[in-house]
Symmetry: C2
Subunit: 599 residues, 2 copies
C-alpha cells in the first residue's frame, strides 16, 4: 500500500482540538454545518485524492502535456477523469456561497479539503485551485450578469479559469505590462498582447476557459495605477449560456518546467487575429469592476492564492515526509553504533539518530506549516464572519501580515523537507522509481510563482509591518504574547519555550524599529529576505507552542510526536534566527554597497 499523502489525524487535531473550527457553526454563515459535515468533506477528499489523484501523479509528470498535431493540448486522460469526479462531488465549490451553488464551508475546512488533492497531485489539483480563485474574484467584483454567466459553469467544472498577469518582459514588475484593452462600440473591450506563465492557459479539460487578464486601457495612468482587469473567455458565451464564437486567444507554446509538469503552463497571445469575433481586431474582453483598479482586485485574489501556494508547498512536504517515514521504518541498513557483531541483522533506518533528525526536521516543517496555513485560513473565516467590526478588522490585519510568511515559509522549508526525504531514501530517493524526487521538483516552483521569495520579503518589511503605524505587527505581538502567557502558566517545556519565543518576538519588534530608524528604505530593505526568513521562523515557533498547548497532558504516540517536533523546532530551528537578527540590527550594507561589476 502506498504511503498516505496527508494525515487525517493531524488535520483533526489542528482543526478541532486546536482551532475549534466546530465553534464556527454557531455563526449564521456556517449554521447548516456541523462536525459531521466537515468530516464528510474531509473523508470524501481523502478518498478521491488517494484513489484518483495520487494514482496518476507519476504518469502526469512523465507524460507532460504537449501540443498535438491539431494544435490542441493533449493531457493524459486520467486528469480529466479525476477532475470530473472532483467537480461532481462539489468540491470545487466548497467554499462558495450556497446562492452560487457552493457548500459555504469555512475556509479552514475548504483548505484542508484542498490540501489532500495538492498532496496527492500538484499538477492536476492546480486546475480547480486556479478556477476557484478566479471564480472567487468574479463573485467579489463582477456584475450580476458576469457572475451569472461565468461562475456557475466554473463551480460545476464545465469552465476552468486562469489568471493572466505576467508578460515576457513583466514578471515581478507588473507595472510594465503592455497588453492593451481598447473600448469597443458595444461597451466591451478588445485586448491585444502576450501573457506568459499562464497555468491552465489552454487544454481540452473543459468546454471553456475563463481568463482574467490584466491590461491597460489607453489614456490611463502609467504604471500600476493604469491597470484594469478583464474577463476574456476562450469561447464567447451567448445569453442563453451556450458557447458562441471562438475568441481571439491563441496558444503560442507550452513552457517545459523542471516539475509541476502536470499543469499546462502557457504563453498566450490575445488579439493576434487568428480568430476575430464580430470581425473586430482583438480578443473580446469584459471589464471587471472599475477601470484602473485591476491590480487591487487581483491582489485580493493573489493574497488568497499566496496562502494556497503555502498549502501546496506544505502538502508536498507532508507527502514526502510520510513517504520517507514509511521507508525509514521498513528499509534496514546498518547497525546501531557500537554493535560489534557484523553478523547481527541490519536495523531499520529509523534506528539511526541522523535519520531521526531528518524525519523530525521534516515533521517540524510540515506540521508547523500546516498549522500556520490553517491558522491563516481561520483568520479569513473570522474576518468574514466575526460579530464585531473590531474582531473582523483585527483578523484581517493579522492575516495581511502573515500572508507573505504563509506563502514563503512553507515554500522554503517544505522544499527542504522534500530534500531531506530524498536523503532518507538515499540513492533510491534520487530515482524516478520513487515519488520524493518529484515532490522536490514540484515544490521548487513555490518560491517563484505568485510573488517570488524576494517580493514576499519586500511585502512584509516594506509594507505589512509598517502599515497603519505598525498596527499589524503590534497585533502579532499581542497574539503571540497571549500564547506565551498561557504557556508560562502551563509550566514545563512550554514555559521554557515561551521564554525563548518571547525573546525572539522582542527581537522582531526591535529589529523592525532599527531597520526603519534610518529613514532610508534602501537600507531598511537591503536584507528583507533575511528579515522574512527570521520572522517566519519566529511565527512557526509560535505555531509549535500553540500546538504544544493544545496537546496539553494527553498521552499517546500522536501527542508525544507533537512534543518531539516542538522540542526539535525550539532547539534546532528557532536559534537560527539569532544571527539573522544580529545581521539585520547591524544595518549591514554588504548587498547595497557591492558593485555589480565586481560580481
Amino acid at each position: 500500500m502506498p504511503s498516505p499523502v496527508l494525515s487525517r489525524r493531524d488535520l483533526d487535531f489542528l482543526l478541532y482540538d486546536w482551532l475549534d473550527i466546530e465553534s464556527l457553526t454557531a455563526r449564521d454563515r456556517f449554521a447548516e454545518h456541523s462536525r459531521e459535515t466537515f468530516d464528510a468533506v474531509l473523508d470524501l477528499s481523502a478518498d478521491i485524492a488517494t484513489k484518483h489523484f495520487a494514482t496518476h501523479n507519476k504518469k502526469g509528470d512523465a507524460q507532460e502535456p504537449r501540443i498535438g498535431e491539431d494544435g490542441r493540448v493533449e493531457i493524459i486522460p486520467e486528469v480529466k477523469d479525476a477532475l470530473d469526479l472532483f467537480c461532481k462531488a462539489g468540491l470545487l465549490a466548497g467554499g462558495f456561497d450556497e446562492e452560487h451553488g457552493g457548500m459555504q464551508l469555512p475556509v479552514a475546512v475548504q483548505r484542508a479539503s484542498m490540501a489532500w488533492f495538492q498532496a496527492a497531485n500538484a499538477g492536476t489539483s492546480a486546475y480547480p485551485f486556479l478556477t476557484a480563485a478566479n471564480a472567487n474574484l468574479l463573485v467579489t467584483h463582477g456584475s450580476d450578469e458576469q457572475i451569472e454567466t461565468f461562475v456557475p459553469p466554473m463551480l460545476e467544472g464545465r469552465f476552468f479559469g486562469t489568471m493572466c498577469l505576467s508578460e515576457p518582459q513583466a514578471g515581478s514588475s507588473l507595472a510594465d505590462i503592455t497588453t492593451r484593452a481598447v473600448p469597443a462600440a458595444d461597451g466591451t473591450y478588445r485586448l491585444t498582447g502576450t501573457k506568459m506563465w499562464i497555468s491552465g492557459g489552454d487544454h481540452e479539460l473543459t468546454e471553456n476557459i475563463v481568463h482574467l487578464v490584466l491590461a491597460k486601457i489607453p489614456g490611463g495612468p502609467d504604471g500600476v495605477k493604469g491597470i484594469s482587469l478583464f474577463i476574456v473567455p476562450k469561447f464567447l458565451v451567448e445569453a442563453d449560456g451556450t458557447l458562441g464564437e471562438r475568441n481571439d486567444v491563441a496558444l503560442v507554446g507550452l513552457n517545459h518546467k523542471m516539475g509541476n509538469r502536470g499543469t499546462t503552463n502557457t504563453l498566450l497571445n490575445f488579439g493576434e487575429g487568428v480568430h476575430t469575433p464580430g470581425g473586430e481586431a482583438g480578443a473580446v474582453g469584459y471589464l471587471l469592476g472599475e477601470p484602473h483598479k485591476g491590480l487591487s482586485y487581483m491582489f485580493h485574489m493573489m493574497n488568497e492564492a499566496r496562502i494556497g501556494v503555502g498549502f501546496l508547498a506544505t502538502s508536498l512536504g507532508y507527502a514526502g515526509y510520510l513517504q520517507s517515514l514509511d521507508y525509514a521504518r521498513t528499509r534496514t541498513q546498518g547497525r546501531p553504533l557500537g554493535a560489534k557483531d557484523p553478523a547481527s541483522p541490519q536495523v531499520p533506518l529509523v534506528e539511526h539518530a541522523d535519520v531521526r533528525r531528518m524525519l523530525l526536521a521534516q515533521k517540524s516543517y510540515v506540521e508547523g506549516a500546516l498549522a500556520l496555513g490553517l491558522y491563516c485560513s481561520k483568520l479569513v473565516d473570522v474576518q468574514r464572519t466575526a460579530e464585531s467590526d473590531d474582531e473582523r478588522t483585527r483578523a484581517g490585519l493579522l492575516l495581511d501580515l502573515l500572508t507573505p510568511i504563509a506563502k514563503s515559509w512553507p515554500s522554503q522549508w517544505c522544499l527542504e523537507a522534500n530534500s531531506l526525504a530524498i536523503q532518507v531514501l538515499g540513492g533510491y530517493g534520487y530515482t524516478r522509481e520513487f515519488d520524493v524526487e518529484q515532490f522536490y521538483r514540484d515544490n521548487r516552483l513555490n518560491p517563484i510563482h505568485e510573488g517570488t521569495h524576494g517580493i514576499q520579503g519586500l511585502d512584509l518589511l516594506g509594507r505589512k509591518v509598517i502599515m497603519q503605524g505598525g498596527a499589524a505587527l503590534a497585533l502579532l505581538g499581542e497574539a503571540v504574547g497571549e500564547t506565551i502567557a498561557r504557556a508560562t502558566q502551563a509550566g514545563g517545556d512550554a514555559a521554557a519555550y515561551a521564554q525563548q519565543l518571547g525573546a525572539a518576538v522582542a527581537r522582531v519588534a526591535e529589529t523592525t524599529a532599527t531597520l526603519w530608524s534610518t529613514g532610508d528604505p534602501a537600507v531598511a530593505l537591503a536584507n528583507s529576505s533575511v528579515y522574512l526568513e527570521a520572522v517566519g521562523h519566529v511565527v512557526v515557533a509560535w505555531m509549535w507552542l500553540e500546538q504544544l498547548l493544545a496537546v496539553g497532558d494527553r498521552e499517546g504516540d500522536f501527542f508525544d510526536g507533537k512534543r518531539a517536533a516542538a522540542r526539535y523546532f525550539f532547539r534546532f530551528e528557532l536559534p537560527r534566527t539569532g544571527p539573522q537578527f544580529d545581521l539585520l540590527a547591524s544595518l549591514d550594507r554588504t548587498t547595497l554597497d557591492v558593485s555589480p561589476s565586481v560580481l
Copy 2:
C-alpha cells in the same frame, strides 16, 4: 554566446597567486613542468569542455541512456565523440606517472582541468572521472601484470572503469554485501552477486569495461574485514591485449534518476550464467592486492573520489552562478526603490539588492568551495612529494580531516547556489529552456553518492577529529592559527575576520572536547551532521580569509569581488555556526531520545 562554465581568472588566482602551484615544479616529480605546461592543460581543458561537452549537456539530459532492442545501452553519439577527444588529448591520464603514459601533473592542476568538464557536463565527465579513479587504484595496488593489462587501455580511453560497491540491500552498510568470490583452479576467482548504483556499468563507449568489485571470499571474516577487491572485466583480455570471451557480467537494468542522467547508472548481475567463460559458473575475477583488504583499498580510492564529488558539486554551482550572473546583468525588471516614475525604463536585475544578495551568496559558496577543493588537492601533492617525512605526514593528516568537508560542504552549499541561480532567473530558471534547473537536479546527487552527508558527519566526528589523539584537529588549528596571525598583522577587514575566525575555531575545539567528554559515542554522534556543517562553515571561512590575504591590496574588479564575497561570508554565513555550536555543546538528546513510534 553562452555563459562560461568556470572562471579561468579565478583558477589562475587560486592556483598561482594563492597556492603557488608553480613552486611544485622545483620538485623532481614535476620537474618537467612549468607554468606554461599547466596553462596549456587548462586552456585545452576549457576549450574542449566548452566546445564539446557543454554543447550536449542538455541533450544528454533530455535523451537519457536507454536499453535498445538488442540489449545494448544506447547513448547519444555526442558523448562518445567528446570522450574520444578528451582521451586523445591525454587528459584522462593527466595525473598519472609518465611510465604509465600520464602527464605527471600535480593533482591540483589535474583537478582544475577536470573541473572544466564537470562544470560543462556532469553526465559525460563522470565516465573518465571514474576511469581515472579506477586506474589509480590499479596502479597503487595491482600486480605488474594487472597494471600492464588494464591501465594503458584505460588511460588511452579504450577501456573505461567502474566501482562496484553497493548492492540492493547494502548501500551505506558495506559490511552487508553478499557478492561471493570463490577461488577457481587457475588462481582466479568466480564472482556471483548483484551490484546496484553502478555508474558507467554498461555502455558501448569503449571496447571494454573494467569493473572493480567488492566481494567476500567464503570462509573469510564477517563484516568489513572479510571484503576483498576484484578486477572483473566485461570482456576477458588475452595475453596479447586483445579481447577474449565475454565475461559473465549482465546488465539487469538502468536506474532512472532525477538528474545526472547522462551517466548510465546500472544494476549488474555477476555470474548469473548468461555467459560462462571457461565453462565455470561465475564471472571471472582477479584478486587485487591481498584477500580481505578490499575495503581499505577502496577507501583509498574513495577518499579521492570524495574530493572529486566536492569538485563536481562546486563546478555545477560555479556554472549556475555564472549563468545567473549573466542573466541578472542583461534581464531588466522593475525599478530601484523609490523610483517614482513608472514610465522610466526598467533596470537590470542586478540593480536590486536582493538579487545581489543571491549572487554574492553563490559567489561565496562556489569560490569558497573551489578554494577548498584546490587546497585539498595541493595537500595530495604535498603528501606525495614533500621532502620531509614530517611534512608529508602532516599534509596527509590534514587531508584526511578535510576530506569529509571537501565532499559534503560543496554538495550542500553549491546545491544551494544552484537553487539561488534558479531564483535569480525566476520562472525562466524553473524551465528546461535554461540550464540552471538541470544543474540543480544534477547537483542533488552529490550529498548522496560516495558516502551520504550523514556518513561524512560520522567520519568527521567519529573518526577524523579523534584519530591519533586528535592530531589532525590540532593540525587544523595550527594551520588556521597561522592564517589568523598573518591576517591580524595585515589589519583592516582581514584582522576583523581573523578575530571572528579565531573564536569559531576555538569553538570547534571546545565543542569537539565536550561532545566526546561523555564517553558515550551515541551522545557524541547524535548530531554529527550538525557538527559536519558547522565545522564546514568554519573551514570555508578560513578559505575566504586565505583568499583575502592573497588579494592583498591589489586593485580592480576581480579583487574587489573577492573582498565582497569574503565580507558576505563573514557577515552572513559564519555566524550561522553560533547556534550550531550551542546545540552541540548542550549535548542535545532530541534525536537520540525520540521514539520511532511517535514520528
